[in-house]
């Protein structure tokens, strides 16, 4: 196995772990089912995806990763295909497109990009689901009870896990820098 395939296998492996952690975290710690109100959605996979997108330069590779994991996410968690499948690759292309504006990778940049992409993704999903009448929540309730708590929780988690995550994602794409 050459170094490139090994790195790709590493990326897929860690993305899969983050994918499962999303569901398990929601199940084990964050399900407030009996008392409605706040709805926290763990988005660890998105966290890793954003970190990887900030570091990988190959756009085709990014799109393939986005579509594959988007499909998995939609099919396994949502039962409707077309939410993550479309929004995730779009988001990754967007980040890749404006990446040149950022001089170097530091925590502030990563955090704000993650914040923006989380907002984009959740609002996109809300709009699409509202359009297809999968939900009857109104916009204000969505912002107060879903978007706000989700952003807060995920940003705090991002803050805590930033250093290991950044090291991990740099390691997963590192060979490019060496070969340059």
């Amino acid at each position: 196995m050459n170094i490139k395939t090994r790195k790709v296998v590493g990326q897929v492996f860690f993305l899969l772990i983050a994918f499962y952690l999303d569901g398990l975290m929601k199940w084990a710690f964050l399900n407030n089912m009996n008392h409605g109100g706040f709805n926290v959605l763990p988005q660890l996979m998105l966290m890793l995806i954003v970190m990887l997108t900030m570091r990988i330069d190959d756009r085709r590779h990014l799109i393939i990763l986005g579509i594959v994991f988007g499909l998995l996410y939609d099919s396994y968690y949502y039962g409707i295909i077309g939410l993550y499948t479309v929004l995730l690759p779009l988001l990754m292309i967007g980040i890749d497109h404006f990446k040149f504006l950022l001089l170097k990778n530091n925590m502030g940049y990563d955090l704000s990009i993650y914040f923006l992409s989380l907002t984009f993704l959740q609002s996109g999903i809300y709009l699409l689901e509202r359009l297809l009448q999968q939900t009857s929540t109104d916009v204000l309730d969505f912002i107060t009870y879903t978007l706000g708590p989700t952003l807060l929780w995920n940003v705090v988690v991002f803050f805590i896990f930033y250093i290991p995550l950044a090291n991990l994602s740099s390691w997963m794409v590192k060979y490019r820098r060496d070969s340059k």
Binding site: I17, L24, N34, Y76, Y78, G79, G82, L83, L128
Partner: protein, 286 residues
């Protein structure tokens, strides 16, 4: 014509929009109308859920351990209360056995094979909950191979928690009773009264109070707080006699026209790792 197709970005955008809405519309329709998703999706979901089991079992073990710890904390007060009821329980159990035996004989006499109260069960453990605010789904590790079909009701230890929404080969998705989806959150129910049972439809979940709302109630005259609510078996795939919860109160709607009965659900919807899928012996309308 040459010019029209030369703008590559516009074409891509157009295709993207068509693909998005096409995919969404097709999958929503399949979910609502077909009994199973396409084979490719089934296989994909099964592979993901089988691998996910590796992560789910340790999580469930931790979850069980923590709930055991909190159980231990309440043991003393609970023990006192339970001791008071244990005599009553033995008496009821003996009575139930006699009545069940009698019921079986009477059914044979009448040549009734199965009624609305007959069902068999399948146990399954929970693999994950979808990180998603509107489709409250649980993934469980049993599917078509265990005889699970779409729309079967699902119970936790204490009461009704939801219904099967998608069936794959070895896994399926449960939509919780607390869902927002208007197509799927209705259960035909009845309130057990002293002399006459009152029927209605549990049709809504009030997310502010955590109560279930029962509408289309025949009469609210004899309903008292604390009465038990069970499924009435009048809706097809749900058998009669699954415990839903207790009556909490009655409210009029905004126009003062109809009465809604608020029900405190019996199932806690949170502290369980194993669920029971109910297979009704009488097949109703599809």
């Amino acid at each position: 014509m040459q010019k029209f197709f030369s703008n590559k970005k516009l074409i891509i955008l157009m295709i993207l929009i068509i693909v998005t809405f096409g995919l969404l519309a097709v999958t929503v329709n399949i979910r609502d109308k077909k009994s199973t998703p396409p084979v490719v999706q089934q296989i994909g979901n099964d592979v993901v859920s089988v691998v996910g089991g590796v992560f789910a079992y340790p999580t469930n073990a931790v979850k069980n351990a923590t709930s055991e710890f909190s159980d231990l904390y309440n043991t003393y007060t609970e023990n006192k209360r339970l001791k008071a009821r244990i005599g009553e329980l033995a008496q009821n159990q003996a009575k139930l056995e006699v009545v069940q035996e009698e019921n079986k004989k009477l059914k044979q006499e009448l040549k009734l094979n199965s009624t609305l109260t007959d069902y068999s069960t399948v146990n399954a453990s929970v693999l994950s909950r979808s990180p998603n605010s509107w489709q409250s789904y649980l993934t469980i590790n049993r599917g078509q191979t265990s005889g699970i079909k779409k729309n079967m009701p699902v119970m936790s230890g204490k009461g009704l928690i939801g219904r099967i929404i998608e069936v794959d080969k070895v896994s399926s998705k449960v939509e919780l009773i607390s869902t927002d989806n208007e197509l799927n959150d209705k259960f035909a129910a009845e309130i057990l009264g002293n002399n006459k049972n009152i029927t209605g439809v549990v049709s809504r979940y009030d997310s502010d109070t955590g109560d279930l709302v029962m509408e289309n109630v025949t009469s609210t005259k004899n309903i008292k707080k604390g009465q038990s609510v069970i499924t009435s078996g009048l809706g097809g795939l749900t058998p009669r006699g699954l415990y839903i919860g207790k009556v909490y109160g009655i409210k009029k709607d905004n126009y003062g026209m109809t009465n809604s009965v608020y029900i405190t659900p019996a199932a806690e919807l949170r502290n369980f790792t194993v669920v029971t899928v109910i297979k009704s012996s009488v097949s109703g309308e599809k």
